[in-house]
């Protein structure tokens, strides 16, 4: 059986098609290119944050500060633009801040050996606090239109940011497959002790994962500012949990070692599609979180059952080996006092 057919990405992708078809049957408007493109466009931020989060989960860690990093970078970008900083420079500044924020997590986890959940829970508070300190708590509005232009810029009939995200997904997929050191992310999450014995630089690998999570939150922040056009203090709020949900849904294993950017992509689009579907089904908006959560639970539970079944299978195989052992091994079969 090839790996592709077993993959969770494909399963979720098929589920997504089923969802789209079902909703389309009830409300044909849903099936219009426009609404589909709308779903894609509104999932871009989550896709990017989820890919960043995936790097960390691959190493068997967790980063709950990515939403806050998104918010902080968005604030930096907004403040810089309002202060008259040129767009490219402001974008660069926002990215640098996001990378630094990720590095702080990385230092805490790798060198100070703080457990990931505690470290990033701490920085979640710190980064959210910084947002308020920088802005004094007020929203950043009146953002120059030059950045908002990109959100509506269509290239070959498709929005610019969709292209950007697509390129990023393809690029990370390619690099994760072919770049030698990317393999370390999987190895460290799959078997950290084994990785150490194989001379793999475990600390550097972990450091890179948290830094990348920051960078991807920063990229998401730029799209956020461009799409929304202002920066509320809630920017990025709860994105970390949605990103983790999207990853898990798409097949990233919280126990480490398994997952691809496609997992993040499919999971993020699925969660966003559910939100849109509810709108088209005229379900009130406050159902969104509950439905999304229920879908996640169902997916994780199914996944758990499948893994249990596999484990049971392996145990039985091992027992069979032992039995064979006892039949064939002369050291046990011939003796009887």
């Amino acid at each position: 059986m090839s790996r592709i057919w077993r993959s969770r990405e494909l399963l979720v992708f098929l589920l997504l098609i089923v969802l789209l078809l079902a909703v389309g049957l009830i409300n044909p408007n849903f099936w219009r290119t426009r609404s589909l493109m709308h779903i894609l466009n509104s999932s871009l931020i989550l896709i990017l944050v989820s890919i960043g989060e995936m790097f960390v989960i691959l190493t068997r860690g967790i980063d709950v500060s990515v939403g806050a990093i998104l918010g902080l970078s968005a604030v930096i970008l907004g403040v810089a633009l309002n202060a008259g900083v040129a767009l490219p420079l402001a974008v660069l500044l926002a990215l640098i801040v996001s990378v630094l924020a990720g590095m702080v997590n990385a230092v805490g986890v790798t060198f100070l050996r703080v457990p990931p959940i505690i470290m990033t829970l701490g920085t979640l508070g710190v980064y959210r606090g910084l947002m308020l300190i920088i802005t004094g708590g007020s929203w950043i509005e009146t953002i120059p239109t030059n950045i908002k232009f990109f959100a509506n810029w269509h290239v070959l009939g498709v929005r610019f940011f969709i292209w950007v995200t697509l390129v990023i997904v393809i690029l990370t997929t390619f690099l994760l497959r072919r770049f030698k050191k990317a393999r370390y992310l999987y190895a460290v999450g799959d078997n950290e002790e084994g990785a150490r014995l194989m001379d793999i630089p475990v600390k550097k690998t972990l450091f890179a994962a948290y830094t990348l999570a920051g960078l991807f939150a920063g990229i998401a922040a730029i799209i956020f500012v461009a799409q929304i056009g202002f920066v509320p203090m809630q920017a990025g709020n709860g994105q970390e949990l949605r990103a983790i949900a999207a990853d898990v849904l798409g097949g990233v294993n919280l126990a480490g070692g398994v997952g691809t950017p496609l997992s993040a992509l499919v999971g993020a689009i699925f969660l966003t599609a559910v939100d849109s579907a509810l709108v088209f089904l005229k379900v009130p908006g406050y159902w969104n979180n509950a439905v999304g959560g229920a879908i996640l639970l169902a997916a994780v539970y199914l996944d758990y059952r499948v893994r249990m079944a596999v484990a049971a299978q392996q145990r039985q195989a091992r027992a069979a080996v032992r039995k064979e052992n006892n039949h064939l091994n002369p050291s046990t079969s011939e003796e009887q006092t």
Partner: protein, 514 residues
């Protein structure tokens, strides 16, 4: 009847003037003030298969961990091809051509076989791939390279590890009990490959508990006991009897004499408090035995023989177990550990940190954990609880500043006593003690022995599991020996000698000459 011994194949090129691949000289290692290696001298010639034998805790694993860079010795030298070296990490050992294949192969289960092999390798991937193919062919590794490594059998995972070592140009391979999870046929295949490697001049340290395997495959055998090499001879010069004798403690015969002079516990009654009939599960088959009131039954065997698994199945912790467990005449179909306890059977597990004690809580909480329903009607009566605690604190002479001292701040011996107090608090009729003296200092050890005698005197039936054969032989009225998931020997105290029990634990049976 002695086991037929196949003569081992001679090494192709053996001359006395050869430089050894590696030579360990006077290696000392101390853990927590206790020396575990006391001057080990050991060497390995090119193309030699050198078997290391010894009971649990004899120091063979520690020695190999030093050689592979996992531990640094306190004293002693390692010479590699005549040059002195110290390894501070497995990485350094790899660079010097030493590769250890651990008992549980360190694979990355979700990566493909090829990814597993190439990972961390400082080589051009194309050249590496070609070399992998070459090595796989030579060694007869037949799985597909794109398969997930987690799906490989243990035997193939080991081969994967061996290829990994060869890719790193290993001249010295350490195989730590590689055969324990293999089928008979897989063992034969492994041996074939070991011979191939040996012909290529690669030296192999081979750790195994199976004497017949050691006799079949090795050129030379070294036996360790209590951190010393007590026997080192070419395989052709030894037989299993000699090996078993070497593994015995020096005062074995005196102990046997002393024991025979002492009477059996006279309080043993005919009442069977625990009967196990044809119990089988994944890790053991067809286990039957009885424990009577006031009797100490020792369950001996090596680590991995299936003793703990039997104990867990008897108390009802193994949902896959089939067979009958009868506690005081009551058949316990589908029982769990709670029900076992209410019937009067308690289990004191081997790993007390994981299963026996609340480390972060006051010691008293552990002691009374199973009898809370008896302490006060609705609310917990502190007075009653402390009364129980003080009772056992005195009875077991537990050294603690107060009953509320946090358990993890107690010494190992006192922690073990706290766990025993918990077991005794429910007033059991049968108690299973799994390695009760592991990690316990000498004086607490005597207290535990004394307690066992005392409990037996009160008519409690005891199943004592221990890897320390002396302990088993000294304390038990009857001894069961397990080997690879079966009870292969049962003997009364008076008829038992340490040597027989040791031989049985290593899978040798019915040798009249012993």
């Amino acid at each position: 009847m002695a086991k037929p011994v196949t003569p081992p194949p001679g090494r192709s090129s053996q001359s006395p003037n050869e430089t050894p691949l590696v030579e360990l000289k006077n290696i000392w290692k101390v853990f927590a003030g206790v020396p575990v290696l006391k001057g080990i001298n050991l060497n390995l010639m090119p193309g030699e298969i050198h078997a290391l034998l010894g009971g649990n805790g004899s120091g063979k694993s520690t020695t190999m961990k030093i050689l592979s860079g996992l531990y640094v010795p306190e004293r002693g030298e390692i010479f590699l091809g005549g040059e002195q070296k110290v390894f501070h990490s497995p990485n350094e050992a790899h660079k010097n051509g030493i590769y250890m294949v651990p008992q549980e192969p360190h694979i990355f289960p979700h990566l493909s076989v090829e990814e597993n092999l190439l990972l961390g390798l400082d080589m051009d991937p194309r050249a590496a791939r070609a070399q992998v193919k070459q090595l796989a062919k030579e060694i007869g590794f037949e799985s597909s390279f794109s398969e997930e490594a987690g799906a490989l059998s243990i035997a193939n995972q080991q081969l994967l590890e061996i290829i990994r070592g060869l890719l790193r140009k290993a001249q010295i391979l350490i195989l730590d009990e590689p055969t324990s999870a293999l089928t008979f046929r897989e063992v034969e295949n492994l041996f074939k490959r070991m011979r191939t490697l040996s012909q290529r001049g690669i030296g192999i340290f081979f750790i195994s508990h199976r004497l017949n395997e050691v006799m079949t495959i090795s050129h030379r055998i070294s036996v360790l006991r209590e951190g010393r090499i007590v026997l080192a001879e070419p395989t052709t010069e030894v037989n299993s009897e000699k090996l078993v004798r070497a593994m015995l403690p020096a005062d074995a015969e005196m102990r046997d004499m002393k024991r025979k002079m002492r009477d059996s516990h006279d309080q043993i009654t005919d009442e069977v408090v625990l009967a196990v009939k044809k119990l089988s599960s994944d890790a053991f088959q067809d286990v039957s035995f009885e424990v009577r009131a006031g009797e100490v039954v020792g369950l001996a065997g090596l680590v991995g023989a299936g003793r703990t698994e039997v104990a867990e199945a008897v108390v009802g912790l193994d949902p896959n177990a089939r067979g009958d467990v009868i506690i005081k005449g009551k058949d316990t179909k589908k029982h769990d550990s709670r029900k076992s306890q209410s019937l009067g059977l308690v289990y004191v597990p081997e790993d007390r940190h994981a299963h026996g004690i609340f480390l972060e809580l006051p010691s008293l909480y552990t002691m009374t954990a199973t009898i809370l329903d008896r302490l006060g009607r609705f609310l917990l009566s502190r007075k009653q609880e402390e009364a129980v605690g003080n009772d056992y604190r005195q009875q077991l002479s537990i050294k603690m500043s107060s009953l509320h001292q946090i358990a993890k701040t107690l010494s190992g011996g006192n922690q073990q006593k706290v766990v025993l107090a918990k077991a005794l608090a429910s007033k059991p009729d049968v108690i299973i003690l799994d390695e009760p003296t592991r990690g316990v200092d000498a004086s607490a050890r005597q207290d535990v022995y004394h307690l066992i005698e005392q409990l037996a005197g009160q008519g409690v039936g005891i199943l004592l599991i221990s890897s320390e054969l002396e302990e088993i032989v000294d304390l038990s009225d009857r001894i069961l020996v397990m080997y690879q998931g079966r009870i292969i020997k049962e003997t009364e105290r008076t008829g038992a000698s340490l040597q027989q029990v040791m031989a049985a634990a290593f899978g040798l049976q019915g040798e009249a000459s012993l």
